[in-house]
């Protein structure tokens, strides 16, 4: 029996998310879960005529839960790396996110390449691709893995590490919260974001690919990106 049949029979699309931050997936001022990824899966469920069921997991639990069939797809900032793609099926990327670096205002660095120096410590989030980026693009610096993005930002702000690496959107949020942070010039890497599902759910993967093609074609995706990403329009509704 195919996964799509099961979703239709159940009448539920079960989605696993994590709370990685604005504007991809977060809890807004009203206590509602929202963000770009959430809007996307909401649209998917609506177009399938099924109910959307969202389950929130800690990063440690997200992959095991998907593999144990607790839900159908992961809608989080999960990058389809070659290793992961060997174990999961990813949809086409629906979005590319820039990875950048930030530091404290009193630090002498101006562009991210300055960080690639022996003795410089750079913080990122555990198990995330930011750490991979630090190790790959700043081999001379020391990578420090924090449990969460905010912890790494706090560490930069309080001088525990020299700089941090995160997504453009996260860094934007950190710079408004800490008044002594600055963004370093240059984009370190671009991360594609995609939905993931279990290996055997082949039809669901194709369905998602097709769906992304469709909403690209009819520009619904562009409108969403304009709202969530290219402008700050979302802030007055949710912040």
């Amino acid at each position: 029996e195919d996964i799509m049949d099961r979703i239709l029979q159940r009448g539920e699309l079960r989605v696993g998310v994590q709370t990685q931050g604005e504007p991809v997936s977060f809890i807004d001022k009203n206590g509602d879960r929202t963000g770009l990824a959430i809007d996307l899966v909401t649209m998917m469920a609506k177009d399938l005529n099924v109910k959307l069921v969202i389950q929130d997991y800690d990063w440690k639990g997200l992959i095991p839960a998907l593999l144990a069939d607790k839900f159908d797809i992961i809608a989080a900032d999960m990058t389809p790396t070659p290793e992961r793609t060997a174990a999961l099926l990813f949809s086409k990327p629906f979005f590319y996110q820039d990875t950048i670096a930030f530091t404290a205002k009193d630090k002498p660095f101006t562009k991210w390449e300055d960080l690639n120096t022996a003795g410089v410590s750079v913080g990122g989030t555990q198990g995330g691709t930011y750490i991979v980026a630090i190790k790959e693009f700043m081999p001379n610096a020391t990578a420090k893995e924090f449990a969460s993005g905010p912890a790494s930002a706090q560490a930069v702000a309080s001088g525990r590490v020299d700089a941090g690496v995160s997504s453009v959107s996260n860094v934007a949020a950190y710079s408004t919260s800490f008044d002594n942070l600055k963004v370093l010039d240059g984009v370190i890497t671009r991360e594609p974001l995609a939905f993931a599902t279990r290996k055997e759910n082949i039809q669901l993967k194709f369905w998602m690919d097709n769906y992304i093609d469709l909403i690209t074609a009819d520009r619904k995706l562009d409108r969403l990106l304009d709202y969530w990403w290219n402008t700050t329009a979302w802030e007055k509704d949710h912040k």
Partner: protein, 238 residues
């Protein structure tokens, strides 16, 4: 950190007030969830641990080593992994009755985890009661169960309660791990709130800490009182 506190005393009171107002509802919701988890863990863990502890306190040939293995296995592995096995691995065994939702899995694993500590405490306390108390009761015609219920347990309770207090507050650490199976308790609510206000990470953890304190402190106080009572009162031994 100290700087933050100085700010707190100074100009930024309004800022902290705003953050507290924004995150407290979520934290309180998480706190209720944490209390629920702790309570279930305490009840199940005490019941299961009490039963196993009583059995282990008796020197029964097969039960004692078996319970010992149970206890060491649970104490030797992290709660995170126990939870993982119960929620993610057991369902793959194919028995439908092992397919628990995250709430049930969390309750079951917290209960089992707590029981491993309670077992040790109860069996230790029972063994600490002088043999003469058993013999005195046997000689009067008490059977094993009656002796336990009327003589041994009432006397060991003074040893059990203080130690239980320690376990109950340690259990709190475990409740913060169940977010792995998708339960949003206090620590998870704090983490989610921090994503909204990344600049106030310490302050938000501090607020969460205050809520934990509101659970732990009374538990330890009550236990301390009970300990004092069992010392001062009638239980003075020669």
């Amino acid at each position: 950190m100290i700087g933050q506190f100085l700010d707190f005393l100074g100009a930024d009171l309004a800022h902290y007030w705003k953050i507290a107002a924004a995150v407290m509802p979520a934290l309180l919701k998480g706190f209720v969830e944490t209390l629920k988890l702790a309570l279930v863990g305490i009840l199940w863990g005490s019941f299961l641990g009490g039963t196993l502890g009583i059995l282990r306190g008796q020197h029964i040939r097969v039960a004692t080593p078996l319970i010992g293995a149970y206890l060491h296995l649970l104490r030797g592995t992290p709660f995170l992994v126990q939870l993982y096995v119960i929620y993610f691995v057991l369902p793959n065994t194919g028995y439908s009755w092992l397919q628990w939702d995250s709430q049930t899995a969390a309750f079951v694993s917290l209960g089992i985890y707590t029981s491993s500590y309670v077992t040790e405490i109860v069996s230790g306390a029972i063994r600490a009661i002088p043999r003469g108390q058993w013999e005195g009761a046997f000689a009067l015609g008490f059977n094993r169960l009656k002796t336990l219920r009327l003589i041994i347990l009432p006397q060991s309770i003074g040893l059990i309660l203080p130690a239980l207090g320690g376990v109950y507050v340690t259990l709190i650490k475990a409740t913060s791990i169940v977010s792995v199976v998708g339960i949003v308790e206090l620590m998870r609510q704090a983490d989610i709130s921090i994503v909204r206000f990344p600049g106030d990470i310490l302050y938000i953890y501090f607020l969460a800490g205050a809520l934990y304190f509101a659970f732990c402190f009374p538990v330890l106080m009550i236990v301390g009182r009970l300990e004092e009572r069992s010392k001062n009162g009638r239980m003075v031994r020669a």
